[in-house]
């Protein structure tokens, strides 16, 4: 423990020849109660020391930054009042530190003024930023497509070994969480449907509801949302950290396109795995509905199965699979784009991961709405 703080005091004495002497006494450390600066200033002003100020610190027991900040304020005050200060009476260390603090003058223009902007300027600023962000996004998309072209024609540098690991991470490792969420979504759909359909004695149509709901919408959607949170965020954090460590610059200086080397494998892995995950989610969701149908509504096992088979034709599954592939592209692009755009700090990487998930989910829902409308028009 530090010694408990003693008390600090300072006295101003009038000396001959218009000099004032400030006497520091006691413990002037930062956790002590230091005398008021305003009082000292008042006493100095009442004396009007024409010839200046001297110091006496023989009774000063201990000092640290508390003493120094006090002295600095005093110096600034004396300078503004044009009172001469003779620092010889201060402890040597304090004198040297004060000198050190003024050794490097404040750089002109370094200090920042708080600027206030009107709402119109802010609106304009964010509109311009939005346009720039959209351009960046399109440019990124363009780069990815040209890189894909190079890959197809065999001219891209593609890290096949990393690709295997990524496929495993986007596929097999996601199965437990996809299972849990899909079964629960199936259960929920069946419950909501059962309450309504039971009123008409049409419980059996729970099988249709769950089967169609999972195959066309919820399987793809839930798998995509899970992957946006799980894998999209991971992509953004990985690429963002690589940005911090200058790993991406290192690739670029070697002439290896970061898009080919980092973004393409992630996107392809996710696009390949997403339909499989979606199919698996469909199965799990239907199983969840089955639990409610057979366990709670007492529908016969066989009947539920046949009803599901009749209700959900292959084209319904196809709609879900196509959607999931598109969602895969969206999640991977959002993750990689935010990762590549990340700044070089811990906060920026965190922001990139958050923004990857938010961007991913927004575009998933928007894309889902568009595809659903198209399917309706085409009559699929």
């Amino acid at each position: 423990m530090r010694d408990p703080a003693g008390s600090a005091s300072c006295h101003v004495d009038h000396k001959a020849d218009g000099l004032a002497e400030i006497r520091f006494e006691g413990d002037w450390r930062i956790h002590a109660d230091l005398p008021s600066f305003a009082d000292l200033v008042r006493r100095i002003e009442s004396l009007r020391p024409a010839a200046g100020i001297t110091f006496d610190s023989r009774e000063l027991k201990a000092w640290d930054s508390g003493f120094l900040t006090f002295l600095r304020k005093l110096m600034v005050h004396c300078q503004s009042k044009q009172i001469a200060v003779q620092v010889e009476g201060l402890p040597e260390g304090a004198r040297r530190l004060l000198q050190l603090a003024t050794a490097v003058p404040e750089r002109q223009g370094a200090r920042r003024e708080a600027r206030r902007t009107g709402w119109l300027a802010r609106l304009g600023g964010s509109t311009i930023a939005y346009i720039a962000a959209t351009k960046d996004m399109l440019a990124f998309l363009g780069e990815v497509v040209t890189a894909l072209g190079r890959l197809v024609t065999g001219r891209a540098r593609f890290p096949y070994r990393d690709f295997g690991v990524l496929v495993q991470d986007c596929g097999a490792r996601a199965l437990p969480i996809v299972s849990l969420i899909s079964v629960l979504v199936g259960l929920i759909l069946a419950f909501v449907g059962a309450v309504q359909l039971q009123m008409f004695g049409a419980q059996i149509y729970v099988a249709n509801l769950v089967g169609l709901g999972m195959a066309r919408e919820m399987g793809a959607m839930m798998a995509a949302v899970i992957m946006a949170g799980r894998t999209g965020a991971a992509f953004a954090a990985q690429l963002g950290t690589m940005q911090v460590n200058e790993e991406i610059d290192a690739l670029a200086t070697l002439g290896i396109s970061p898009i080919e080397f980092l973004v393409l494998p992630r996107m392809l892995a996710l696009v390949l795995m997403m339909p499989l995950l979606c199919l698996y989610a469909n199965l799990m969701g239907i199983a969840g509905g089955f639990i409610v149908g057979v366990g709670m509504l007492d529908l016969p096992f066989k009947q539920y199965l046949v009803q599901t088979q009749n209700a959900v034709a292959l084209n319904h599954f196809m709609v879900g699979l196509v959607k999931s592939a598109i969602f895969g592209v969206i999640v991977a692009l959002a993750g990689c784009l935010r990762g590549m755009q990340s700044g070089r700090s811990a906060t920026a990487v965190g922001g990139a991961a958050t923004s990857a998930v938010v961007t991913g989910i927004i575009y998933i829902v928007v894309a889902d709405a568009i595809i659903t409308v198209i399917c309706d028009i085409l009559g699929v």
Binding site: M1, R2, R29, I30, H31, D64, S65, G66, L68, T69, R72, K73, E92, G93, A94, R96, L97, L100, A101, T102, A103, V104, P105, E106, R107, A110, R111, R112, G343, R344, S345, A346, T347, A348
Partner: protein, 254 residues
């Protein structure tokens, strides 16, 4: 010269990661007001020794005393109290990137002193002025250069007026002039604040410019093979490895 008071005493220290021993049988003493250099080749355990001294990693065996208090044998509370009396400048500053320089320096003050906001602002301005960064209060670490980041890290390390200041590779990544300026600053801080300073480095220029006491850790024998004043070490160490290190291998001509 006044009589030397031991400040940090290391006794019979062994450090290891699991079964892998990095250094063993370390015995040395750092006096109050010393600028003590921990040197050695890459991978010899300099940084691990620093982690033990600052309380980030427990030693496998042996003891570290601060003012006769057994650092690793003390209770967690006592150890924390001791840790508040140390300041550490990490290799690349380790400033918190989400905070401005002023907020970085203010955080230890806010946590461990009872100062009000205005007083904290004054202390922060003083510390930043001491390291030559007056006026840079509202900058984020990402907006300033590496050398400035290091000096800002030093301002933060000095926030609580530490008795012991640790520097991990202070001149790494700095140009010779900035490195020299940082060395001068270290000397100035030692002389005016009376702090004990421990520096991990392998920059020869710094070692000779600021160090008055040192320990040399050897990778092959996994222990210290020399200690004392680095200038004497260079001229009269019986060990060839130490000689070669301190003269950049110039005495070892074929």
């Amino acid at each position: 010269m006044e009589e030397k008071q031991p400040h940090i005493v290391v006794e019979d220290l062994t450090m290891a990661y699991g079964d892998f021993v990095i250094q063993q049988d370390l015995n040395f003493c750092i006096n109050r007001g010393d600028i003590f250099i921990i040197m050695g080749g890459s991978g010899c355990g300099k940084s691990t020794l620093l982690r033990i001294l600052v309380g980030l990693k427990a030693p496998s065996r042996g003891r570290v005393f601060f003012d006769a208090i057994d650092f690793w044998g003390a209770s967690e509370m006592e150890r924390e109290d001791l840790m508040h009396r140390m300041g550490i400048l990490y290799q690349s500053g380790a400033l918190w990137s989400s905070m401005t320089l002023a907020e970085n320096v203010a955080l230890p003050l806010r946590e461990y002193t009872r100062l009000n906001d205005a007083q904290i602002r004054e202390v922060v301005a003083l510390k930043l002025a001491l390291v030559g960064l007056a006026g840079f209060e509202d900058y984020y670490p990402s907006e300033i250069s590496g050398g400035m980041r290091k000096r800002a890290g030093l301002a933060r390390a000095m926030a609580l007026d530490p008795e012991i200041l640790y520097f991990d590779e202070p001149s790494a990544g700095l140009d010779p002039i900035s490195a020299k300026r940082l060395d001068d600053l270290i000397l100035e801080i030692r002389d005016s604040m009376g702090a004990t300073i421990v520096v991990v480095t392998h920059e020869l220029a710094s070692i000779f410019a600021i160090g008055n006491n040192a320990v040399f850790l050897d990778t092959a024998s996994k222990t210290m093979i020399a200690s004392g004043d680095p200038r004497q070490m260079a001229s009269s160490s019986p060990d060839e490895g130490v000689q070669r290190f301190l003269t950049r291998g110039d005495t070892f001509t074929v």
